[in-house]
Symmetry: C3
């Protein structure tokens, strides 16, 4: 009888997994795109579709939160998690839009390397979100969070090295403006993944 | 007797309307200014005065919140709404200051167009805030929020087109640096309006 | 007996003082560094160590918060205070890293002036945090917060004047890109100090 009143709350895990899935779709597509080096109208449409689906998943979570009295964890944490996951897809979408606006075509090895680290981080993030469902997976969730932190630190170093190289080598100020923003945006994706890991971590601590 | 104990809470609606009014003053003045294309010390003083009045309205709300036990809606939402409305006026003030610092004089058609969309969005925002007072206006509040969202999407497209044109046409990197920041700031005003709409929306959902 | 159950909560004041101490270490070191005008690998290591210690202090606060039922003030405010203090050290670390990446060596008088204002603001912030422990110090806490606000306004003016001068005088767009970011970052440190002052202020109002 008790469970009959609470079916909804378990739904949050499904919804978060779905939302994290769109983050991963975006990360995988971003890597594919920069590896081919061809951002075009079709690519813009595709990433916007993914972002739109992620947006809808976030709205469903917030709607459900407003209608649900008992939640599996703190309301504040549910809101933060939905918002941060949304920011991951949003930021990837922003980068691809900017590349189109700045007409940045051709393969940039640095960006391919960044896209690869972003994909790894979002993959770890997906594992962390999936693992929240079951307290048996506590250890694997915690390992995913450690990995996300490691990749954020790596991203900081990568961005600094790439910027140093850019300012050293690139003599066209317009190209400096464009690539500086893209590298900083790419690192921001890893920052947001770390924010997700922090929210997941704080949820686990409170439930321990 | 009951109402005698609660006069204060109704005050929040007055305060928010007042604060939203300063947002609209700022938006109208911004459009006027860029249409004439003459940012000067006097303009800086005028927008700072508006921003200062908005600031005081926000402080009054927060002070009152700290002294009031029963509030018409969630304390968190009251804080968010006061903060986001403050950010609208702040951002418009920032743009005008930057134009002065960068010595951007003369009429820029793109910016006039942006200022016009900003004024429309802040006008819709004022309607949404006013409508919160009465549950009969629920439909019109919700329409205002939809309009704010539409204008934010329009702003994204406008900014991307203006940046693409800027990078295409402008050969002076210093001018690119200046205008890139101004266009991005202008779009940020519309983002903040959308954040206000989200707060208003979540307040309405909880009261439904 | 009562006190035996609550020893932990008093600990928060010690922890916040410790964390504010790392902010001050960072601000003092930043001023020392820009006065000498020599950012090198050793400096990067030193500021990273300070930032790392500040990070650990923040984590200890959050861990303790999650384990403590009764806290000396709102949980939300404890979280905000820990986060904002962390942001102070983080931002100073970011500036020094950027100076290294951009190879900005030599003494820049503007930056020395900014570093001096930052040190003053962080010193006032340390006083405010220390004073929270005892309601007798309420007046001195409030004076420190007023001083932090004054320095933030001063910082706004300084940044605007320095940017105006930069765009006026510097003809190399790459140098403009670099110094524009550094000046804006320096002003951001003062913004974050003001955010700390706001949190401290709101804690005091609630306890009054």
């Amino acid at each position: 009888m008790f469970f009959k009143f609470l079916p909804r709350e378990f739904n949050f895990f499904d919804l978060f997994e779905k939302q994290a899935g769109y983050c991963l779709d975006a990360a995988i597509y971003f890597k594919e795109l920069v590896t081919k080096g061809s951002v075009n109208e079709e690519a813009i449409q595709k990433i916007r579709d993914i972002e739109h689906q992620g947006d809808e998943a976030a709205h469903t979570i917030i709607d459900q939160l407003n209608k649900t009295f008992i939640t599996p964890f703190d309301r504040e944490d549910i809101l933060s998690l939905a918002k941060e996951l949304d920011d991951v897809t949003d930021m990837i979408n922003t980068i691809i839009s900017r590349m189109m606006v700045y007409k940045l075509t051709g393969v940039n090895r640095n960006l391919v390397q960044f896209a690869s680290v972003i994909e790894d981080s979002v993959r770890a993030l997906t594992c962390a979100v999936k693992g929240m469902r079951n307290s048996k997976h506590l250890k694997s969730v915690s390992e995913s969070c450690v990995e996300i932190n490691r990749l954020e630190n790596l991203g900081d170093t990568m961005r600094d090295e790439m910027l140093a190289e850019l300012f050293e080598r690139e003599k066209d100020p317009i190209a400096v403006i464009k690539w500086k923003e893209i590298y900083q945006d790419a690192e921001t994706v890893l920052d947001i993944c770390e924010d997700v890991a922090h929210v997941v971590g704080s949820i686990l601590v409170k439930q321990a």
